[in-house]
Symmetry: C2
Subunit: 353 residues, 2 copies
Amino acid sequence: MKKHNFSAGPSILNPEVIKKASEAVLNINNSGLSLLEISHRSADFVAIMDEAQNLVKELLNVPEGYSVLFLQGGASTQFLAVPQNLMKVDGEAAYVDTGAWSAKALKEAKLFGDVEIIASSKDKNHNYIPKGYTIPSDTSYLHLTSNNTIFGTQIKEFPSTDIPVVCDMSSDIFSRQFDLSQFDLIYAGAQKNLGPAGTVLVIVKDSILGKTGRNIPSMLDYQIHASKDSMFNTPPVFAIYTSLLTLRWLKGLGGISVIEKMNEEKAALLYNEIDANPHFNGVAAKEDRSLMNVTFTLTDESEKETFDILAKEAGLSGINGHRSVGGYRASIYNAMPISSVQALVDIMKKLNK
Amino acid sequence: MKKHNFSAGPSILNPEVIKKASEAVLNINNSGLSLLEISHRSADFVAIMDEAQNLVKELLNVPEGYSVLFLQGGASTQFLAVPQNLMKVDGEAAYVDTGAWSAKALKEAKLFGDVEIIASSKDKNHNYIPKGYTIPSDTSYLHLTSNNTIFGTQIKEFPSTDIPVVCDMSSDIFSRQFDLSQFDLIYAGAQKNLGPAGTVLVIVKDSILGKTGRNIPSMLDYQIHASKDSMFNTPPVFAIYTSLLTLRWLKGLGGISVIEKMNEEKAALLYNEIDANPHFNGVAAKEDRSLMNVTFTLTDESEKETFDILAKEAGLSGINGHRSVGGYRASIYNAMPISSVQALVDIMKKLNK
């Protein structure tokens, strides 16, 4: 039976990416060696790292003066690397709290200085994106979370400011066009739109670094990683190669403008059903709805068993909502085909018969 | 042509491990889903993590009261996690400097307190293991590096002390029997004897944690990782699964006592040739020779081109020595068959004809 994998992350990858990753584990570049057993200093892997960095720059229109890094430790390690690298000693930073991941990010930052939460959607269980807040001009940086997987909200318009802007784009990078030059630091765990769990992409404007007066541990120091071309220590070879395969696939499709259109169509198909079908209700405020994670609940909770059986019969997995929201969550990342979204819509319609 | 991969790391893995890892990328446990796209909270992955932790405990005879963690960031991140978790505020620690990796470890520790280098082999470019040094009784911990990949030395007898003993075993864990209860914290990057680059194994005695008075960032806090059963954040799923395949292979062989004997035979074959063949000289002091990384030089450097051609013709790769030592380095980790060591010995004999 065809499986439809709506997992929030680690999540679906393109079938060609999976096939080629599997082949490389057996034999990389017809070398007779497995991708897993080659030195990260080998010509084969240096070329992989170079191409991955260059494709990130090409797909996202990264201007000169930014470094592209593939690190370890997930976005969770960036929660502490960001203040280490950007917050002045005894300094402060501004955070927008749009949900669980923002809260984790600002919790780590508090170890390094004062954190001002300049806006929060906590009052409505994070079902919307705060807007119209004032950004202080005398703080080290502004931290945003572009997409909130748990609540199904997404920032549609990024605020404009003169202070450095940092954004956790773990769950929507490469899904839509945006002006990268408006950001000073972007980080994104790979395991949604890029690759398997095990690497985190960091794109950082070099000129904002080295200004805090802190002694930064080497593994958390962006300047050290950038100076070693993201090979200060042994990089996560397999996760980076698989990410490269995804980047090649995206380029082959036609780039971000093409996948953005596909993502809009997929999300519209599902949100239209949620709005039209009286058995379901959307969780997020309409203007803030995520194109990546679609959250919804049953109007009548007693229909849960019926709907769950329909989902199972149709081969749908990973649609249970996060415990802090309840209901359902369909993660429809880049690699999700519209046919899988249609399979979900089809069973939603069955409940309406 | 058969390849003989002597890479120092990432390095050779058992062919069955590679084959099964490749298959799991296509389809894990006959689920119809790739290992790369399943949730780390899924039953499939929770079982993988459990089995991997339990096999580590079984193979190394880990006593009660220790946590087994699979983290990210390599041994390089442990260089800072160790002092964060174990060094008292304004405290100190004792380090034995046996080479480049020890030096990196103690450099990071200096950010957190006073580091006393109680013994060093720097005077002879680290070609031996210091012995007979005095271990202070009033310091937070003793830090050792059990095997030095670059120089080809290995600690044969670990010092006895009442203070906590921390050991970087990245390049020889699972290669020989040792009494784990003599250690309080062991860490090991996977990419030599365990799996692909992308995860680091940490075995820590729970009772030594939480005593420093420091505010530790969550991702560096062993207590947090242990309390979440090594799933505080998304773990590196693929690297852990492939490590599990290696652990299963080791258990199937008969455990550490069996692989230890095989490693002794492989190393003896190569060292015997180095000692018998006047064209070659061993780098490390005989009593400190590593069973994992065998370093040697040519007696007459003008034979380098000839020997390198012989190596290439025989399908040998990764035998160049580290630039700080020169000559050659044959890494003969657990997964290296004795037939590959024989292939190296065969070309060494050719130079002696």
